[in-house]
Symmetry: C2
Subunit: 304 residues, 2 copies
């Protein structure tokens, strides 16, 4: 088979570069994508970058040198020179998953985070929340930027000034999310609601709420940005802004198959949907928070 590929220059294999294989949302994108590629006679091999830009660049380079026929990737960062260089020097099709790399003309599957987050933020504002915290990864990633854009546009629509100290964009790590949640909730003027971007971020925030013994939808409201497999069954009944990972997988497969057949690079946009659930409630008055302990408040419908 090596000889075959050596001779023909084709491997009938697509490389799928995951930023972190342990993110079940993107794992599902990969699964769905593989199914679609298989239907078209293509194999898919996956690499996981382990959240590390160097590993990512090495993996991309490895796939290129192994002469895969195309690459689909959810990058750790859009600003790593080595990564950009490998992608530019790659002559076969490249599909970016929810990423925009400056100066790289590649096909992409983009998610409309801004609309979902704008609606979610607007809902919180309309319920009287004013201090809404938002946590997501570095702004060197499109999803974080788009989330911030949606958040700010809801504040703008409502003619309310957004407080930058409520915006924490640095890492998708659970530890970061927990620390920032603790900070936001124990501030002088604490946040009354949180938007948490991604699985680890939501997990970190929930750990912080548990530590503070706060009740969801009562002491604090929370909207998860992203759902993941079994979200409905395994997670406390969280409001969310979700996107369809099957659709993302199918779209990326469709794009690369098209390009292997000569189509030019284009973009597919995937919607996001805001769903209100029990984790949203009215804002708690600040005086109450600084007053008696949260334990004294009514039934613990959503004690985390």
């Amino acid at each position: 088979m090596l000889a075959q590929s050596l001779r023909t220059g084709s491997t009938l294999t697509v490389g799928f570069v995951l930023r972190d294989i342990a993110n079940p949302l993107f794992a599902n994108v990969a699964r769905r994508c593989e199914r679609e590629l298989r239907r078209h006679g293509l194999s898919m091999v996956i690499t996981s970058s382990d959240g590390d830009v160097e590993v990512e660049a090495r993996n991309l380079s490895l796939l290129r040198r192994r002469r895969v026929d195309g690459i689909i990737c959810s990058l750790v960062s859009e600003e790593t020179p080595e990564t950009i260089e490998v992608l530019r020097s790659f002559s076969a099709p490249v599909i970016l998953l929810d990423r925009e790399v400056p100066g790289l003309e590649a096909a992409a599957v983009l998610c409309d985070h801004a609309t979902g987050v704008r609606r979610a933020t607007a809902e919180l504002l309309s319920r009287g929340h004013r201090r809404i915290g938002i946590l997501s990864g570095s702004l060197a990633v499109r999803s974080s930027r788009e989330r911030l854009r949606g958040y700010l546009s809801a504040y703008g629509d409502a003619d309310i000034a957004a407080d930058p100290s409520l915006q924490a964009f640095a890492s998708f790590d659970a530890k970061f999310a927990k620390a920032e949640t603790l900070r936001l909730l124990s501030a002088r003027e604490p946040a009354t609601a949180l938007l948490t971007g991604g699985v680890p971020t939501t997990a970190g925030a929930l750990r912080a709420l548990r530590q503070l013994r706060l009740t969801l939808g009562q002491d604090v409201s929370l909207i998860a940005l992203d759902e993941w497999p079994f979200f409905d069954a395994l997670t406390p009944n969280l409001a969310s802004v979700s996107r369809d990972s099957d659709e993302m997988g199918a779209a990326s497969a469709q794009l690369i198959i098209g390009m292997l057949n000569g189509d030019s690079a284009r973009t597919i946009t995937v919607d996001t949907v805001f769903t209100a659930r029990d984790s949203i409630g009215p804002p708690l008055k600040t005086s109450e928070t600084s007053g008696g302990g949260p334990d004294q408040r009514g039934s613990s419908r959503m004690r985390v």
Copy 2:
């Protein structure tokens, strides 16, 4: 690079065959394994079998033909002739993850499910439960067989007869688990506790409980067999039998690195740990269940 591999016969790459990439526990095993292999200068490529034995055999064959230097796999089934044939005809090291394939002398990382499940079952029995349901995948997979073994040994230790109608071993699918949970809980003599093997199984069971409006730890007890990333933060406070996925990943890497250096095939066993949490309570008397609706009972501490 293709030419290099063609000439030298070595690819410095290990293939990792996942039964289902969307299972976050095994995704984490892969992540940890990759990290370890990378430290030793080896690359890892992942394939996902999508729960399908044919896809699995094709992926294994693909990796073999691509001349990977070794394969680590969590098989869909231990009884697929095509799969066994590919593995036998593969001259490089093979590591089985929690699997035993008859007639294949391969290294393996095995989890001691039986001990954990025995302790979990014993705890339920000691709290007065007699009708304990157990749900897991097909008995053509070692983990299911070991779980059953642990379950039966606890019943045996307590000198209580186990009812085969409470044992549902057929599929790791969430739909199957939901249907079986509904069956077990609406039977003439309903189960008062459940052991659910794996992520989708636990999710399916919880969906059924929610549909029946049952409260965990009160109307019914549940112990999840397996934890997964963020289990503590995102999942209702479930009792569990857990295993360390990082340890599994590191062990599989260690085994294959050893074999690439000439070591012979051996087995590493990974412990499981039973942890009691809020989802365990005393058994509900059957008369109560058939009597007033479950809604009338006390506080909904763990309403699902």
